[in-house]
């Protein structure tokens, strides 16, 4: 059974059909690239998968269990995490706090426990801090734990978003243009990081306009245009597919 399945998913905004009958599946430990011209519906698809928008038609299944119609926080608890196209970190909070909030759905200190502070609360907080620091090391933000999130550079903020998303212990992570605004060097580092994420058994769906990044990382590609899926298959196949080329791929993308 696939990890994540989209079955005939559509989304209408008033008269506009932003996503039209899209179906595909993502397997365990797979990296799926989601590409398409601007406005093709890629981020909308991410919003549908994570429950931010309700689907107009169709179903979303995580390991066979229907997840559309759930609150985003429930979807996250089930194991779907994401980053955002327009960075949405918690700007006034510290880097550490940003990642710690990601651990929310995996911890259980409630109101009474927060006030009375039995011993297990302290242990849970230490575990959260340890995990968070580990994630900051993983993404390359070691030593920045106490800085205010808004003081980080653009690239560092993207890394922070990834750390925060990983803190939720996802089975699959949706990366929305993680390479946007990154230098070539940083993009290469990003690619290595995504590879490591997959090695940990976490599947990835990645949206990006940087073709080197997407082609280099993806096991398979799904191409959207005007809300419809026009191609699904190997990256090499996408490069040759006339519909995809017609949609927007330029020529000569080196592998």
């Amino acid at each position: 059974m696939a990890l994540l399945e989209l079955v005939n998913v559509s989304k209408r905004f008033g008269g506009l059909k932003a996503v039209s009958n899209v179906s595909f599946a993502v397997g365990e430990g797979e990296i799926l690239g989601l590409i398409g011209p601007n406005g093709a519906g890629k981020s909308t698809l991410f919003n549908l998968i994570t429950g931010v928008y309700p689907v107009s038609e169709g179903e979303l299944r995580l390991r066979g269990v229907r997840v559309n119609g759930l609150w985003p926080s429930a979807v996250c608890a089930l194991g779907i995490a994401r980053t955002f196209q327009k960075i949405r970190i918690f700007r006034q909070l510290s880097v550490m706090k940003n990642v710690a909030i990601g651990r929310h759905c995996r911890t259980r200190t409630g109101l009474a426990a927060s006030i009375l502070r039995p011993s297990w609360v302290r242990r849970e907080e230490e575990e959260v801090e340890k995990t968070a620091r580990g994630l900051l090391d993983f993404v390359g933000l070691t030593g920045r734990a106490d800085d205010q999130a808004r003081n980080l550079s653009h690239g560092e903020q993207r890394l922070l978003e990834i750390a925060r998303a990983l803190a939720t212990n996802p089975r699959i992570i949706l990366l929305d243009e993680p390479a946007a605004g990154l230098s070539t060097m940083d993009s290469a580092a990003l690619m290595i990081m995504v590879g490591k994420i997959r090695q940990q058994g976490i599947s990835v769906i990645i949206i990006d306009h940087d073709m080197e990044v997407v082609m280099g990382l993806s096991d398979r590609l799904v191409v959207l245009n005007y809300g419809e899926k026009i191609f699904e298959g190997l990256p090499s196949g996408a490069q040759r597919d006339p519909q995809v080329i017609a949609a927007y791929l330029g020529t000569g993308v080196e592998r």
Partner: protein, 338 residues
């Protein structure tokens, strides 16, 4: 506290807290005047009230304006429970807090689908409806004629020490002091816990928090309920301290006063809100002659603070600390310090 970091700021806060507590304990003998003691007692009540608002506005970022109404719910419920049913104050207090929390929860259920200005208006409206009920349900509250002769808390027999009576102002002062300290501790613990993190996340970016696994509706409702509980406690104490309450004390204007305390103290800051609450309790009393200008000044101050000092007193102090303590190269984040 996440693995207690002994940063310079934390040490200072602890030191100041201990010193303040000692001063507060000794206050009745330092002041030697019932009038000034009363001002500090009222400050305590205002601190509890403002801290409640701080939870919903400062931590969670929700402009909930029904606060004075909930304060009134606590006050009237407590007074009426004691006077009409003969219940002991010590039961009426938690009962009023619980009832205020319930009302707060109801207001929240109705208003929380809204964001920003809509939420502000809806909650302000609820506050006004509550005020109208106080004013017009004369059979219950005596309306504008005021509900007086509210008895002080029942005496507590303490084994070995005799009976502690609350007739005297000093006794009430200490009761309020205890309540205030409890409120501060609870607030601080919430702020530096998983719950507090969730609320702060909602304040910073509600959608992101939701997608990251924080059930935002539930937490926003929790913030409402908590702030209402604080208001209820403050109300009960207020009723049995001043012994006479009237609807005008629970008007939208009083919410504005609490709002000013929270905003000028610094949204989310506990120490700042405490200082601001004391200041705005003492100032109007000490400047009696300028009473007519009080609300004008408050209105203007709200504008001035929002434009020039949006992070309030706490933010200003943080800036000074940062620039003053240039030897401390590490940059403190906005959530670690009190």
């Amino acid at each position: 506290m996440k693995a207690a970091r002994l940063s310079g700021a934390s040490v200072a806060v602890v030191a100041v807290s201990v010193a303040s507590l000692m001063v507060a304990l000794a206050l009745p003998w330092i002041l030697k005047s019932d009038y000034y003691l009363q001002l500090f007692a009222l400050s305590g009540i205002n601190i509890i009230l403002a801290l409640g608002l701080n939870i919903v506005l400062g931590f969670t970022g929700l402009l909930a304006l029904a606060h004075a109404g909930l304060f009134g719910v606590g006050a009237y419920t407590s007074a009426l429970l004691v006077m009409r049913t003969g219940l002991s104050f010590w039961i009426a207090l938690p009962a009023s807090a619980a009832f205020a929390a319930l009302v707060g929860g109801l207001v929240g259920m109705c208003s929380l689908r809204l964001k920003g200005h809509y939420l502000a208006i809806a909650t302000a409206g609820f506050g006004i409806i509550i005020y109208q009920i106080f004013l017009n349900w004369i059979g219950l509250t005596k309306g504008a004629a005021a509900l007086g002769n509210i008895p002080p808390p029942n005496p507590i027999p303490l084994p070995g020490l005799g009976v502690v009576s609350f007739e005297a102002p000093v006794a009430m002062y200490f009761l309020i002091l205890v309540a205030t300290v409890l409120a501060i501790v609870i607030c601080a613990r919430i702020k530096h816990s998983r719950i507090g993190d969730a609320l702060l996340g909602i304040r910073e970016d509600e959608t992101a928090a939701e997608v990251m696994g924080v059930p935002t509706f539930r937490y926003k409702l929790l913030a409402f309920v908590l702030s209402a509980a604080f208001a209820g406690v403050a109300g009960s104490l207020y009723a049995h301290y001043t012994r006479i309450i009237a609807p005008e004390m629970f008007h939208l204007f009083e919410t504005v006063t609490s709002l000013l305390m929270v905003v000028s103290g610094g949204l989310g800051s506990i120490v700042g809100v405490i200082v601001a609450s004391i200041f705005f309790t003492l100032a109007p009393e000490l400047m009696r002659e300028l009473q007519d200008y009080r609300m004008i000044a408050y209105g203007a101050l709200l504008v001035i603070v929002m434009i020039f000092l949006p992070d309030g007193l706490a933010g200003a102090l943080r800036q000074i600390w940062r620039y003053g303590g240039t030897l401390l190269v590490r940059r403190e984040a906005a959530d670690g310090a009190a």
